[in-house]
Amino acid sequence: MDLSFSKEDLAFQDEVREFLATSLPTDVKDRCDRGLHPTKEGQIRWQKILNEKGWMAPNWPKEYGGTGWTISQKYIAAHEFGQASAPIALPFGISMVGPVIYTFGNPEQKAKYLPRILNSDDWWCQGYSEPGSGSDLASLQTKAVRDGDHYVVNGQKIWTSFAHLADMIFCLVRTDSSAKQQEGISFLLIDMKTPGITVKPIYGIDKENTLNEVFFEDVRVPIENRIGEENKGWTYAKFLLGNERTGIARVARSKRQIVRLREIAAAERSGGKPLTEDQDFINKLTRLEIDLMALEYTELRYLSMIAKGKKLTAEPSLLKIKGTEIQQRLTELLVESLGMYGAPYEPERAYEGRNETPVGPDYANGPMAEHLYLRAATIYGGSNEIQRNIVSKMVLGL
């Protein structure tokens, strides 16, 4: 048991700081800092810089382009990226479908897709949820029927983040309707430009278009786009969900938000004094900070177990639950710190086209947008209620 960093670790830390200081574009950093969604162009520009540096995929095996970092290095990189407000790579390619492809894909699929993911040539989205299947994912209805060397896909996906920007979608589809729910599912990679695909925007409570519905009408998908075996898609989907839960804690990001919250509170006034001198505010901030610290060390402890070859069961669900609860408390407190300037809200669609400066202090532009958007954090990726069901069953045996 040891928390110390080696000399190599400290040198690595310097390298990360130097890289971020010189390579992170200001506009990208600014949006990230505010909690605004990245622009597609900005995000890709940044990811290509990351890939050039070889740092696009810290969690991939080295043979597929991973960094080969130790736990300490991963911790250092995450911390520094967080503090610098450097956006993490969008998860759909690098954290979700990438690992599925290198774990279950065939050599052709690996060769075709992995480099494009690393270089952000494809913008991926995730076709899991359907109108009737939210938490009950396995009840999905989208059908894929074999027709020669193609599948013909019909059905509908919903809550598809960034589908309107995407080049590719990975999809769960039903290939055997007679089998038990989880047994007739296959995992397909589909080009978004294939005829028969329609994307319909869903405007969120933040008045932004992040989510979408995706309709499939006789969409022909080559059989070679199927990952692994037919009807075994549920196995790959579960693997992916397990991966998703660790990243979702977003500890480094929340640590940066704590710093930002302190900055804002130092600028805000309450009764003539900085808000940072308000004991009730400090009380809430401190509780958040310490909960986050506990989460940080829990994540490190689990990573350490994995590194030692121990097998986790549903422990990552804890990271998802606590991580998202903290994110929500943080954005709530960020909004609260703004006082009355929490109320003005002009969605970006209107904002981008206009000449006026945003109302209120500069830092007021962001927190409410993120607060609204992050209400979904306890819903997506398996709602926190589902995560608790999983822990109850897998860890506690109830």
């Binding site: 009950d136 309450s270 009764g271 709530e332 009355m340 109320a343 003005p344 409410m368 819903i379």
Partner: protein
Amino acid sequence: MDFELSDEQNLLKDSFERFVKDNYSSDARAKLANTELGFSRGHWKKMAELGWLGLPFSEDVGGFGGTAVETMIMMESMGRGLVLEPFVSTVILGGGLIAEAGSPAQIEAIIPEVIEGNMMLAFAYAEPQSRFNLNDVETAASKSGSGYVLNGHKSVVYHGTTADKVVVSARTSGNSRDEAGISLFIVDNNVSGLSRRDYRTIDGQRAADIMFENVAVGADALLGKEGTAYPVIEKVTDYAIAALCAEAVGAMQAANEITNEYMKQRKQFGTPIGKFQVLQHRMVDMYMEAEQSKSMSDMVAMKLDLGDEMERRKAVAAAKAQVGQASKFVGQQSIQLHGGMGMTDEYSIGHYFKRLTTIEMLFGNTDYHFKRFAALSS
């Protein structure tokens, strides 16, 4: 001691509810919120015709002579429909300040116009540095001839976008946060030197930051005696807080009903999600919060009608703190229980969430009123 409505009050309640039912379907409300104006002048006229805009004014200024209980009944209905017309800004705040502190001439010139729906008002009190402290006033009114010159920046003036006249708090003497030395002025919203930055708020309403640059007003713009406005402001905002508490109660009840119904319809794992015990208990907690809030809202209305100042302050602080907490919980959990559907702008529940979020913040958030209550109790 009696918590039940009189027959007359029940009739009034029916008419509020009919108005909301006829005019505030979820779709109609969404459309209205997206118009440039953000509410309907037609509705406003109708509310005037029904006598509602005169409800809280005393009979000698042409009002209905209603009590705080009647306002509570009205606001609960408005909350259920997320009604957008500027009743609180115009009638409770602007009208309330003028009726409370105005000269006979000021009252006569404005209140009848308000009651008839011809004039809208707004109250500009907050400033960038003031947070929720009503006494933190840096906008300056300096004597100039027989009148005054105003300079300063007022933040987040609800319905400052459409008000004909704005009541402005400004400092005529003293230091930034002195209670003494604050005065009120009635200013035309298009007077020379006044500039506005209009915008939308997250609850689908309209507000403005208003900047005063050497705005000259006459002596007749002064509302009440110079430098003594603070107790008036505190009292009238207390009435506004009570109204918002009732609005929040209506909004929570509606949000709970929508969520409860959704839980019965929405199926997952082959069964309505309302059959899952964890979600049932969450819904019970939401119901209990709304019940507790209803009690506090009733209590505060009745306390206002008793007329004791200290009791009023404590009751308002307690009610706002409790209702604020409840509003956050009910709003957030309504989204959670709806899952993805709750995150969409098209579906109604998110709008309840956002209005409840805003009410929690208006005129002092939960923490502010906990502190206020503690200070009054010590």
